[in-house]
Symmetry: C2
Subunit: 271 residues, 2 copies
């Protein structure tokens, strides 16, 4: 296995990555199962362990595997599924590098979440008419209950800002989950740290945080109610105004502002 790594051919760790990726794709290693040990993979492919490790690092960064030391179950590289890990890390790094404007994060979040709230409301509305309905009727109910619980926790007076922001994120994500789109959920989950960061920055610019906190809670309640009622239009509008309202109030939306307001009064004429 001579030194076979020079430009023109794929690097060794990329070969390993392709091999592992293919194995995962065809189900050779399913969710929750363990990959062979690094040494075994290296021997199988005739490469060195460092190369295997580099590929493993990438899979880990993408949220595909979770490394575990020791022995027995739970040890070794386990196939997991945390799409938000990779997406979130990527977004975080690019925001950190300063090439992703905060206003873009706000706008993208608003667009996706507005859409998600509409879908969520429609799904809830679709199952509501069937009280005893089996079909996935329980899921939204549980999510809604959890969202309500988070909302209550957020209403606690004197809650530290950091805690509030964390609960706020949990609340939003819980509602997003009702929409049932894993990719959207992963993207928004990935934006979580970026969003928390700009929200925290924004709070520092406020004259009266408690006042704003109260308003945010009221808005949250409105969003939750709209989704629970199955009112897509109201849910979309509420979350749209919620996100852009805060952004505008804190002067974060540098360049654009609310923009087209998808799902809001927009031309939604069709709606």
């Amino acid at each position: 296995m001579g030194p076979s790594g020079y430009p023109g051919t794929v690097r060794t760790h990329e070969r390993v990555l392709a091999h592992l990726e293919e194995g995962i794709a065809v189900g050779r290693w399913g969710l929750g199962e363990r990959l062979p040990g690094e040494r075994a993979i290296a021997e199988d492919l005739g490469v060195s362990r460092p190369s295997v490790r580099e590929a493993m690092r990438i899979l880990e960064a993408m949220g595909i595997v979770r490394p575990g030391v020791g022995s027995g179950p739970g040890a070794g590289a386990v196939v997991v599924d945390r799409p938000a890990a990779g997406l979130g890390a990527a977004v975080r790094l690019h925001v950190a590098s300063g090439t992703l404007p905060v206003s873009d994060v706000v706008a993208t979040r608003a667009a996706l979440e507005t859409w998600a709230m509409r879908v969520a409301a429609e799904r809830v509305g679709a199952v509501a008419p069937q009280p005893g309905g089996e079909p996935r009727a329980g899921v939204p109910a549980g999510r809604l209950a959890e969202a309500r619980r988070l909302l209550d926790a957020m209403s606690e007076p004197g809650l530290p800002v950091a805690d509030f922001v964390g609960l706020d994120q949990d609340f939003h994500l819980e509602l997003v989950r009702i929409a049932g789109n894993q990719l959207t959920e992963a993207i928004l989950g990935g934006l979580r740290s970026a969003i928390s960061s700009y929200v925290s920055d924004g709070v520092r610019r406020l004259s009266s945080w408690p006042t704003t906190a109260d308003r945010l809670c009221v808005e949250h309640a409105a969003i939750l109610d709209a989704v629970a009622r199955g009112d897509a239009d109201a849910a979309g509008q509420a979350v749209h105004q919620h996100i852009w309202g805060f952004s505008t109030e804190t002067g974060l939306a540098g360049d654009g502002g609310p923009g087209p307001a998808v799902g809001a009064p927009a031309g939604a004429g069709g709606d």
Copy 2:
């Protein structure tokens, strides 16, 4: 930052990653500049080169740096900015692992792109009234011209499917760029390979590809015209129907279908 759940100790490559990330965030190494060599970083932090390499692999996978061998400018790890690289890879891996349904990709793409087309149309409409206007008036014009060129190329009869799909993606992304949201552009760019993949799959299910290709070109023209006119409603509706129409025709939208149709005649009851 590291994947949660690690007991106590921080792994070495994570320390390196944090160090590099911080340096990039504070501008110690700006876009296009070179990072210190792997050996230098290792010595600075008192770690081994393999650990530095693992961190470097992650940054590379996220599209933050580009490795370059040799010497002189262009060699070494250069700070780049390709948000789509990380997002795309993450999406690709998760779709490959079978945990991200194609229908989710379609829905998320439709939601984001519908919104983006509305923004794009509004931006074009905002600059149109000022024929000689300096303010970023030329950008949309250039993008529109490029989109038109791609549309022409796509209309070529007998074009191989792979080429058509590639041009199709380029066309969509070119229009998305007009919206001016880097994050949305990066996400949709990242979805590119996943989208190409499902489009190619879909084409194979069609009875008459040439017929569909013609229709897609007509739809593309309608989208382009709407954006060029600055008609946000029409642009949003057109792209929404374009994406969901193809998806429905090829039976790819397994579970949901058009859904709430943001910015389009919602309820799209139609379907």
